[in-house]
Amino acid sequence: MAQIGSFALLFALVCSAYCVIAGVIAIVSKRTFAMPLGETARRAGIATFALVFLAALILVVAAFENNFSIAYIFHHSNRDLPAPYKFATLWSGQEGSLLFWALLLSAYGLVLRLRYKTDVRLFACASVIISAVQVFFLLLLTFAARPFAVMQGSLPADGNGLNPLLQYPEMVIHPPMLYLGYVGFTVPFAFALGALAMRYPGEKWIRITRRWTMVTWGFLTCGIFLGAHWAYSVLGWGGYWGWDPVENASLMPWLTGTAFLHSVMMQEKRGMLKMWNIWLVFATFWLAILGTFLTRSGIISSVHAFAQSPIGNWFAWFLAISLTVFIVFFFRNKSQLRSEHKLESLVSRESSFLFNNLLFVLLCFTVLWGTWFPKISELVQGNKVTVGAPFYNRVAIPVALLLLVLTAVGPLLAWRKTSLESLRRNFMWPTIGAIAVAALLMITPQTWGSPFGLKPWQDISYFYSLMAIALSLLVTLTVASEFYRGGRVISKHTGQNIFASMGQLMHRNTRRYGGYIVHFGVVVVIIGFAGAAFNQDKEQEMGYGDKMIIGSYTLVCRSYTDDDSPNYASQWAVFDVYKNGKQIDTMTPVRRFYKASRQTSTMPDIRSTLDEDLYLVFEGFNPENGHPILKAHLNPLVMWIWIGVWIMLAGTVLALIPNARASVRAPVAARLRPAHAEPVIAGD
């Protein structure tokens, strides 16, 4: 089985290389054989998918069959591992996750190659670029990180098992989501570079990749927040984001990808920022690869980075080559990317997108700098200096607040220029509402652990929280006013009630209104983040009947019990939770000892409500007196983060739905309407 897997990867490499070479000749050549040659290149790309899929399937089957003759299966699985985790074995180690990456890339390539009739030449170019990236991953899998390497010597009876931290349901879906996001950005990059290399006129590549980019962005968003939720639910430190290099690695392409999703609208609508967009899409692709380099090379220490491995050099070379190729094409063909219009006013939709982009890129650069700072300081000073959360927060929080301002302001500004009268008309009521809520939060009586009674002058974190909540309300009001105003126009023309009209409005321009829903989701997430200013925690030895008070909760230790399963042994701590003298719950944080890997891990118990999370961690026993230790965290508003993510994803899905045809006529007919032109209608 291992031999067939290895051969499938080797032959996939041959097919990919053929796709690149034949594809380039077919694109460049003007002779009659170019077309059939191009078709064979496309088919070789499709064959690559079949071969990589076969290799991945063989690895998964080997995991289910406990085939420990394959070294990868021995290192990442064991007989008693539950079935879903055996499936997850595919992406739980270095070689498998690279194979999974290659599989996703070939799957994206398959979809692209099957849809080639949209624009044969542009798709052929994109197919060649995707295959070139595929060649790199298949070279790695064939020569440097072989998933089908066989065990030497006698066959082991059982495997080492999966890392205990990864034995959590979300870990079955978190890596695929993240990888779908990382890998997916190769597609818009391939189209952008293809269009640039071919000197393709117009913005067709943007229209083709619009949905790809949104889908990819949705996957990456989902992957990042699943990772945050996993960290919160499994790692036991009470937080969801630690600015760990691996977390940063996923955030950087997300930031540039988000910037691209916004700035691309300027290119579509006004033919502006063409150079910027092509750099952004390249940066997103490049940062996704850089993130993989970061996690695979061991060059920077991280909780979940793999150990030092030689494949880091492969990634470094690939990054250097891809940057060089891009720069060469950019400087050869940049005359193609001249803007069709100039920025006419600082108060316009264009400038709001521009500032939004600058902020995203600034944040990305900060994260990049902070992530690489240990390495840079080592090179310059000779000793590693690691930067922590305060460094990132100093930049990230003000930038996030400014982005919230732009999220509120941007949709209400007109393209080209906005007058003072327009500003007053659109912003007066939302601004009054936001200021009123901020004042209300300041004058209400202080309640410990909640945003009421906030005194922003007492602590900078309170100031940030107050600003975040007030600006979130501003965004919510502007989004609501967009829906209401649009709904009212449709209602006036159709006679439907306002809610049905708003539904119709969304269906007529799913991209715009889906985007607004994503903005609302971001607001909900930000409110969740703002709650972190009021976090509390407490650690205490807890014998039978001992009490701990945290916030409005009283915890009483009831008992400690043991449990055993084939995969792990568990120790449970049982606590009764009281609020206002009344028992409201029983919580059971756990410590597990995984038998195959001989590692211990904690499994916190979390009681989530809309107000706050009560988060208990059974930390083990005091080595001096043997008393059990409990750590409790009270984290306000965390559930808002997870709700916000669902809203963001719902908005993304809505934005992917095709628009319905509009039927409401414009109030003013266009001055110029030639006989063959489409009617200019309102409603979308």
Partner: protein, 100 residues
Amino acid sequence: MIWLVECLLLVVACVLYVFCLPGRLFVGPATTRSGYLRERKDAIYENLRDLNFEYAAGKVPDADYASLKLSLQDEAATLLAEIARLEKSSATAVDRRTKA
């Protein structure tokens, strides 16, 4: 040795799929300057639709609406003129070829 046979079958299947092409291949339309201009025209019409809708929704004051609409219409007029010129010249070229 069975794996060798299986690998050989895999190669044969892939080679047959890649190189046995159907008689007629899909070519698709060529990319032209007028096609690009039509794309731009569609974008401007979409901007006009957005502007009309925002005006109807009360987001854009009268003066702003008039000036923004006028500039979009001017832009559309320039594009339409160039499209018409390109179509005329291509039609003339076809006529010449037919007469010849």
